[in-house]
């Protein structure tokens, strides 16, 4: 099983005891984090899959992995390529996994719970003033989440307006001056590159632009990208976190835990 989003789903369905190997890129639930690594989601290691005597490979539906998937299937190993990168894909994948492992009711229950919690965030945010938000995924060059990304959907759900809403692809390089001109009121920066000490609520590199409402009002947040960028079972949690970052008066101030490095519990949740 190679994609962390699928790891969360298996955790939520109580299936972690069946996992024999994980992918290169985490985070993984605690009990399986130390299992052998069987390659990245783009390049599954066929030899390792055979060594572990796996019956089933669960992976993201990555184009790059398709030929490896074909070869695995030709060797009689079942491969399921699941869409876990989009909002609806998460629910579809949950349903498929529920049917495969005879956990249909659990899958439906989880889906209903997540959908309910997300709708609740949407309901609370619906009549709030839209805040201008920018979500940064990389700097130098500056990369932001644009339309079609699930982050963009979370921003709009939680009462925000994505200032990069006119980009041509989900994650794109944007001109710094375009961000400055659009005066974001909230800046969420996930470009920390694993440097724990820098996460939290502070201006960081944005402090240079004093005229930005986000800087003036102290609304620049540095978060672990895994908290919000990888969709999965934690969608409801992500929606609430986005709500806290955009409208803290309604959803509550983000606390220290929200800025920690993401850890996944065995039930697929992050707390």
């Amino acid at each position: 099983m190679l994609s962390p989003a699928i790891g969360e789903m298996l955790g939520a369905l109580g299936l972690l005891d069946r996992v024999v190997g994980i992918g290169q890129f985490g985070p993984w639930p605690g009990t399986i984090a130390r299992l052998p690594v069987v390659g990245g989601y783009n390049d599954p290691n066929i030899e390792q899959v055979l060594t572990l005597d796996a019956d089933l490979v669960l992976n993201a539906d990555s184009q790059a992995a398709m030929s490896a998937h074909r070869r695995l299937r030709a060797m009689g190993i079942e491969v399921m390529a699941l869409d876990s990168a989009t909002y609806e894909g998460v629910f579809r994948s949950l349903k498929i996994l529920g049917e495969k492992f005879d956990r249909r009711t659990a899958a439906e229950r989880i889906t209903a719970r997540i959908r309910g919690q997300i709708a609740e965030v949407g309901r609370l945010a619906k009549h709030l003033d839209k805040k201008r938000v920018v979500f940064v995924v990389g700097r130098d060059p500056i990369y932001v989440a644009g339309p079609g990304s699930h982050v963009d959907r979370l921003i709009r759900l939680a009462g925000g307006e994505n200032v990069a809403g006119d980009m041509i692809a989900p994650y794109r390089q944007i001109s710094l001056e375009a961000i400055l001109e659009r005066r974001p009121e909230v800046i969420i920066d996930s470009s920390d590159n694993g440097r724990d000490a820098l996460r939290g609520r502070h201006h960081g590199a944005w402090g240079q632009w004093l005229f930005l409402p986000a800087v003036r009002d102290n609304r620049v947040y540095w978060i672990d990208p895994s908290q919000l960028v990888i969709p999965g079972i934690r969608l409801a949690h992500m929606a609430r976190l986005m709500g806290k970052l955009i409208h803290p008066k309604v959803f509550g101030e983000p606390d220290a835990q929200d800025f920690e490095k993401l850890t996944i519990a065995d039930d697929g949740t992050s707390r």
Binding site: D140, L180, E181, R195, F211
Partner: protein
């Protein structure tokens, strides 16, 4: 690439320099005038007032960016010209002698260790500084290997450089294969080449270093003309060939190392702009070298402007644009001017 001797009149030097200087200034003005934000150079005319955002976009974002693009383009083109002269090989570019590989390793290691920091100011210079150290280390290593009996053998320099680059690429692939997804992203964009955003102090230091290096190379332009006759021929003309070779290797490598440390591997500029200029103004290094600095600068400023404007507010990687504009233009020149060029 033998030099056909044509007396270089002071008049001709003045005209070409003035022409290219004007082109550079126009490109710089265009670069400052246009961008994703809605503010132009004309807003500075009396009667208009700028708000704080517009002021920041003009002075803090665009002005440093076009100046850096100009310096990078100039440095890479000058390095390309002198490496082509040193190796007497039209395929030489600033990245051929291995220093770029060393700079890349330095930068990539710094990124993977998490040394780059999100804090502004000096913190953002840690990755470029590590990259420059990588370039210096490589420079010393290659010089040590390629110096035989106190002489720098051009073939050994070239071979060592090419092999070192291959080694560097393998090492970087290795680092990439163990890096996290986030770091992988950062590494890919670091190597792809971009116009970096620098503070005013860093820009000042960068500019002084580039100008000093370029000046020292321009001062040797007579020697490069002699070198086009071959090492022996140059020696007969009284050129201290060893000194010229060593200085060229070191200064060209320093310019390249500095450029890669700042901007990553911006392709095409250092390989093709020298040839474009040779086709337009001839191979005499006394005019070619200053022209390379001005013309290379103008070229990269223009390419960066394209990268910023075509899909604004989306930006394209500048290396893509340099090749997309430069490739067809080079072929056009080759077709129409090749007789003058002597190919």
């Amino acid at each position: 690439m033998a030099l056909r001797d044509r007396p270089l009149s002071a008049n001709r030097v003045a005209i070409i320099t003035l022409w290219l200087l004007t082109a550079l200034v126009i490109c710089l003005c265009l670069g400052i005038s246009f961008g994703a934000g809605h503010v132009a150079l004309t807003d500075l005319l009396p009667g208009n007032s700028l708000n704080s955002v517009e002021r920041a976009i003009l002075y803090e974002v665009r002005l440093p960016r076009v100046l850096i693009a100009g310096l990078l383009g100039g440095a890479l083109t000058v390095a390309g010209v002198v490496f082509q002269a040193l190796l007497r090989n039209p395929l030489a570019d600033p990245y051929v002698l291995g220093v770029s590989g060393g700079a890349s390793i330095g930068g990539v290691v710094a990124i993977t260790l998490g040394l780059g920091t999100v804090a502004g100011g000096l913190g953002s210079m840690i990755v470029p500084a590590c990259a420059f150290l990588g370039a210096l280390g490589t420079l010393l290593l290659i010089e040590m290997i390629a110096t035989v009996d106190g002489r720098l053998t051009v073939y050994t320099v070239l071979l060592t450089g090419v092999i070192f680059n291959a080694f560097a690429a393998a090492l970087i692939y290795f680092i990439q294969s163990i890096a996290s997804l986030q770091q992988l992203h950062e590494i890919v964009f670091y190597l792809m080449g971009r116009i970096p955003s620098l503070g005013h102090e860093a820009l000042g230091v960068f500019a002084i270093a580039i100008l000093l290096g370029t000046g020292a190379l321009v001062a040797m332009s007579r020697d490069y003309n002699a070198l086009s006759l071959g090492e022996e021929g140059a020696m007969h003309l009284g050129v201290d060939v060893e000194r010229v070779k060593r200085r060229t290797f070191i200064l060209g490598s320093l310019l390249t190392g500095l450029s890669v440390a700042m901007g990553g591997l911006i392709g095409f500029v250092g390989l093709v702009v020298p040839h474009m200029l040779r086709m337009m103004i001839g191979p005499d290094h006394r005019i070619l070298l200053p022209a390379a600095f001005l013309g290379g600068g103008a070229f990269l400023v223009l390419a960066d402007l394209f990268a910023r404007l075509v899909l604004a507010p989306n930006e394209l990687p500048v290396g893509v644009v340099t090749a997309l504009i430069g490739g067809p233009f080079f072929l056009y020149l080759l077709r129409t001017r090749s007789r003058i060029y002597g190919i």
